[in-house]
């Protein structure tokens, strides 16, 4: 809808002050879209994909060519300019899709799960590129299931569950509001967890009993662990870590499997 391709069923919406139903081409001229599924043109070479796409915005050929070379550089694909799209790796295709979405110098870049399915190296390269864009002043609007990705890239974050907004704020702010500073993770073995759970009720700010481990949310994980040991409980493994967005997300949306 923000990309002015889906018509809304009801309500009002303006993008850059324009009604998408009437000003689709105008809005889309200011927006870059990186869809979940790459729809790069497999019949064209890497650089051609950018050239053709730039023309869709009515940009002059010379300018598109210059911009295409800059973007290939930016996406670290300069040496692949005349390769076939099919021969690119998943991460490269993703970067090419992002480069393509930037060909019109958009004010807003929409990204739908930009790093889903990529290996860690490819993700980090992509994050680095996206972070640079942010530094250059491009607004990024992205959806993701990866909380580490959200933590890396987002200034402002909205947690949505089944179409409803559950919370919004900066990552640090959300962690402060919905989780503790630290989390203690202990394992007693899957048969023992439930039994132990009864004995540590009231530990920390909150206790979460999962089938495989118990989470204790607290300002100091070490203190909770000491208290546990003092009470004669000896977990098989224990881990104290900082609270993350994932904790916030699971707290807000529940741990039940959402298919």
């Amino acid at each position: 809808m923000i990309g002015a391709v889906s018509t809304r069923t009801s309500g009002d919406l303006t993008v850059l002050g324009l009604d998408p139903n009437r000003y689709g081409p105008e809005i889309r001229s200011q927006v870059g879209v990186v869809p979940q599924e790459n729809n790069l043109d497999m019949e064209l070479k890497v650089r051609e994909n950018l050239l053709v796409y730039g023309r869709y915005f009515g940009l002059p050929r010379a300018r598109v060519a210059r911009r295409a070379d800059e973007l290939l550089e930016f996406a670290q694909l300069a040496d692949k300019a005349s390769a076939k799209v099919d021969d690119l790796s998943g991460g490269m295709k993703r970067r090419l899709t992002i480069a393509r979405a930037l060909i019109n110098d958009p004010r807003i870049l929409l990204l739908d799960e930009p790093t889903t399915g990529l290996d860690p190296q490819a993700r980090h390269i992509l994050w680095d590129r996206l972070f640079r864009l942010k530094e250059q002043g491009t607004t990024l609007l992205l959806t993701t299931h990866y909380m580490d990705e959200a933590e890396q890239l987002c200034d402002r974050l909205v947690v949505v569950d089944k179409g409803r907004i559950m919370a919004e704020g900066s990552p640090a702010d959300l962690i402060r509001r919905y989780s503790s500073r630290e989390v203690l993770e202990v394992r007693f073995g899957s048969t023992q967890n439930a039994e132990v759970a009864g004995r540590i009720e009231g530990y920390g700010e909150r206790v979460d009993v999962l089938p495989d481990r118990i989470l204790v949310y607290s300002d100091s994980g070490e203190n909770e662990l000491e208290r546990m040991t003092a009470a004669g409980l000896h977990p098989i493994t224990s881990l104290v870590r900082r609270s993350s967005l994932e904790d916030v997300f699971l707290r807000l949306t529940g741990r039940n499997l959402i298919e």
Partner: protein, 287 residues
């Protein structure tokens, strides 16, 4: 397009708006050509096929049918075998129109399926300033160009084979173009309705295009057929195109109203197919 002033009352930040309107203006006007540009770029990757079929098919068909088969027909019926002209002259305009249909059956089927489904480039276009209707326009423009090239080359071979007695034969090239586009637009719209190709496109080849070619007065005049089969010709764009092409190629005798019917019928099919395809595309892309 609605003008800008309609919307200023909505309280719009003027510079952002002005930039958006300025950048989209060219695409609003020339978007169809940008899509055609894309198609040309893709066609370049199979340019050899385009040229090979454009040159090869008139050679093969005009020689095999027009010279080989013609010697048999003319040998039996005399030099003025059909309509008072040689069999080659009778056949050539029909083959010309068929060559346009062949291009249509290629370019208006798989590339459409590709753009919607197999390599959804239409969705990519639709995320830019391009509008769905412009995608269809661009495809029609690019296919028309390939068709025109194919028919022009075909016509050159007709001249070489001495198959064009009339002075206005070149108009038959335009007639063939109209015929190919009229048929192709319908095929394009039909293809746009397909969510998946489970053999439908091959069926079109086998059960629409082939019978149409056989029963459209291509190899023999329609009135040779029994009356209960002649309706196939009347609804077939190929028959209308072939008859009209013959009028121009060798002055086939035909009442003027019938020639007009050919033009109107073909134009109507083109309009229906084109509008229908635009509608389906908008529906599919803007969901």
């Amino acid at each position: 397009m609605s003008t800008l002033s309609d919307n200023t009352s909505d309280g719009i930040r003027s510079d952002a708006l002005a930039a958006a309107v300025a950048q989209a203006a060219r695409t609003r006007r020339y978007g169809s050509w940008y899509v055609a540009e894309h198609r040309f770029r893709v066609m370049r990757s199979y340019a050899q096929t385009v040229l090979f079929t454009a040159i090869g098919s008139p050679l093969v068909y005009l020689y095999a049918m027009g010279v080989g088969l013609a010697s048999l027909v003319d040998g039996n019926l005399g030099d003025n075998a059909v309509n008072g002209v040689s069999y080659l002259a009778f056949l050539a305009p029909a083959l010309l129109a068929s060559s346009a249909i062949a291009v249509a059956s290629e370019e208006f089927t798989y590339p459409i399926m590709l753009g919607f489904k197999w390599n959804p480039t239409f969705f990519g276009m639709n995320a830019s300033s391009i509008q769905p209707g412009q995608i269809i326009n661009g495809i029609v423009i690019s296919v028309a160009a390939r068709m025109l090239l194919t028919c022009a080359i075909f016509y050159v071979f007709m001249l070489v084979f001495g198959a064009v007695p009339g002075p206005f034969g070149f108009v038959a090239v335009l007639v063939a173009l109209l015929t190919g586009l009229a048929f192709g637009a319908l095929v394009m719209a039909y293809t746009a309705t397909l969510k998946d190709d489970t053999g439908q496109l091959a069926m079109v080849q086998r059960f629409v295009i082939l019978p149409m070619t056989l029963f459209s007065g291509t190899f023999f005049p329609l009135d040779v057929l029994p009356p209960y089969l002649q309706w196939i010709g009347w609804i077939s764009p190929l028959w209308h195109g072939t008859e009209l092409a013959r009028v121009f190629a060798y002055g086939m005798p035909e009442p003027i109203w019938l020639s007009l019917v050919h033009v109107l019928y073909l134009a109507a099919l083109l309009a229906v197919g084109w509008i229908w395809a635009r509608h389906l595309t908008a529906e599919r892309l803007n969901k």
